[in-house]
Each structure stands twice: as structure tokens, then as C-alpha cells.
Amino acid sequence: MIAAEQKLQLDLSWALDAVEGDRDLLKEVVADVMTETPFQLKELEASCRAADGAQIARTAHTLKGSVGILGRGRAWELAGIIEQMGYSGQAEEACQALHRLIYELEQLKGFFAKPHWEQYV
């Protein structure tokens, strides 16, 4: 396992199993996740700005579903925490946690932007 993976707590074993070990398909799936997450993040940011707990929970849940494909790492964990905050109506706390989530998503983006990242998983 390389350092970047340790830092990201990346675990693509579920996704790799789901695509029956086909690394080209895995790359396609990861590309889909990386294409979807910026839009989902924007929706989550808008929900936080509107301080709408139910909307925060829904959008965080969607984001959690996407990053969950990449394993139950920190981004997945944070999205889950924000989702729960949304359900509890803790909009302000959710907005604070969102900054950490953005950082984690940037780390993921950086890793998957590397050429031949699939060699490390």
C-alpha cells in the first residue's frame, strides 16, 4: 500500500470485486464518481448555506453513496457525520464539517488525477 492510500484510507476492494476485477471498468466507475461528486458537493454547500437540515441530510447521503464506492474512508465518514447533523438540524456544525469534507475530496481528486493510479490498488 502506498502512502497516498494510507492517507486517504482508500479501499477499492469492493468496487474491484463488483466489476469482477476488470481494472478498465474500475477506472470508468471511479471517473463517474469523480464526475458526480463536485455537483453533489455544490448541492450540499447550497443546503448548508440555506441551513436546511433535511436537505443537508439528503445531499450528504447522496455524496456518501458516491464516495462509499471508493471505500469507507474519511470522506465517506465525514459525509455520514454531516448527514446525521442534517437529520438533527445542526446546520451550523454541518457547515463546519463541510470544510473538512472538501479537503478530503480534494485529496481523492488529487490521487485519481495521477496517471496509472490503478497500479496502486
Binding site: D17, V19, E20, T35, E36, H61, G65, I69
Partner: protein, 134 residues
């Protein structure tokens, strides 16, 4: 062509994974990205089984299951509810909506395929054969 499975899932990556695995297992697939179009497809396309995400834009998975299972025309169609929330409460509601199975999304694909196979076999066994008269 194998049994027809309708997948209602708003997450594109997850939808792709399911599509790949189902097709590779010999099933015909149809896909919907939100609850309303999923429900419309379920009623129009008469799938042999429905896999629906729980949280969907528009109509959620609970409602989809309820609307199919409480309608005599569609109640024979097995419904699998998929979720990334592993909550007992969701499983309980899924039961109340008469979903046939409740599965967490990160369950191994082969286990999901085994559940599908079992539910399809059960549904076929339950189907009443036509009475033929001379």
C-alpha cells in the same frame, strides 16, 4: 434473454456497477435515475424484479415498494431495497412496505446476485399456472 430487472438508482457509478454485474449474470436490465421514472417504468415494462435505492430524488424507495406491493397488478414483482444507510429503522420500514429484501449497498455483488436468484425462483414458484381446458 434472462429475466428483466429494473434498477432505480440515482448514483451513476453505482448504477453502472449494478448494470455490469446483472448483465454479466445473464439478466436483461432497464435503468431509471429517479423515483418517478422508476415507478413509471415498473408499471409499463413489467420487470421480473425491481431493485430500488432507498433515498431517491422525488419518490423514495419506500414509496415505490408500497405503490407496487399494495397494487394487485404489480404485487407479484419482487422488490429489493438497496441503501447505504445500515439502519434498523430503514429495514423495518422496508418490511412494512413489503419489500422482499433490504440490502446494504456495499454488500458483495455475489451475495446480491444470490438474493436476486432466490427471489426470482420464489416468484416463479408462486405464479399460478393457467388452467387449460379442452
Amino acid at each position: 434473454m434472462g429475466n428483466k430487472i429494473l434498477v432505480i438508482e440515482d448514483n451513476a457509478a453505482f448504477r453502472k456497477i449494478l448494470n455490469i454485474r446483472l448483465k454479466s449474470a445473464g439478466y436483461e436490465t432497464i435503468m431509471a435515475e429517479d423515483g418517478l421514472s422508476g415507478l413509471t417504468m415498473a408499471r409499463k415494462e413489467a420487470p421480473d424484479l425491481v431493485i430500488t435505492d432507498l433515498m431517491l430524488p422525488g419518490i423514495d424507495g419506500h414509496k415505490i415498494s408500497r405503490m407496487l406491493k399494495f397494487d394487485q397488478r404489480y404485487q407479484h414483482i419482487p422488490v429489493i431495497m438497496l441503501t447505504s444507510r445500515d439502519l434498523e429503522e430503514d429495514a423495518e420500514i422496508a418490511k412494512q412496505c413489503r419489500a422482499d429484501a433490504f440490502i446494504v449497498k456495499t454488500t458483495k455483488a455475489q451475495i446480491i446476485l444470490d438474493v436476486i436468484e432466490r427471489l426470482l425462483a420464489q416468484a416463479q414458484a408462486r405464479a399460478v399456472p393457467l388452467e387449460l381446458t379442452e
